[in-house]
Assembly symmetry: C2
């Protein structure tokens, strides 16, 4: 069985790059700089479905994604989450939060409809993440 | 500088136990079986503030907390999150989700006021986690 990206994740995101473990996606929502990491293994739902060595690699990918986002202007906090309430395929959100962004003190998930990027903004972020 | 638990985390939770890296807390909210892991190191805000070896240990504590919760009746999915929008001290939520629970397909954070446990329900959960 090969890795296949869930079609809902594909529809909501833009492909950034593949790291050794994870596919890196950019959420197409200009309200928040937001990466989604998807371990490229078939059949995963919970973190515990990964072997321990891959779990450690996933943690390092989370840190790397966070470093990309923290280098952006105004990002003061990261939000990291693996929820899977809607899309069961294991995926980890790493979101850069800015003071005054729409979700405020709350979580970004389920907080209103996404605002798609304009092409220039999207290319800027893609370039930044790919450069790491 | 010694580890001190943020007073807001302390107010919202019940002490469960200390694992080698993390303090384990039970969120005092009977709507969801919900553990909070707090690495017992001073001055942490982001996961990246931990050295890599502690990050791997944190991942294993997340998996262990999840195993406790998945052993409870009706738990069909885990939600894992490190947000820190309100309380900056690094802490990781591990939440057992049940079909039909109040947050539905959304996240538990920011979803209405907590419903405190009655003593019997709280002791049952505490016993279960401490037994692992």
């Amino acid at each position: 069985m090969n890795f296949e990206l869930d079609p809902r994740l594909q529809a909501d995101t833009v492909f950034v790059t593949d790291w050794p473990l994870c596919r890196v996606l950019l959420m197409n929502d200009a309200r928040y700089p937001w990466l989604v990491l998807v371990p490229r293994r078939p059949g995963l739902i919970e973190i515990a479905d990964l072997p321990a060595s891959d779990r450690a690699a996933l943690m390092e990918d989370i840190v790397r994604a966070g470093e990309c986002l923290r280098s952006l202007p105004g990002v003061v906090k990261l939000n990291v989450g693996a929820l899977g309430n809607v899309v069961r395929q294991l995926h980890v959100h790493v979101v850069g939060r800015r003071a005054g962004d729409p979700a405020g003190a709350g979580p970004v998930w389920g907080h209103g409809p996404a605002v798609p990027y304009d092409p220039a903004g999207r290319e800027h972020l893609l370039g930044l993440v790919r450069a790491r």
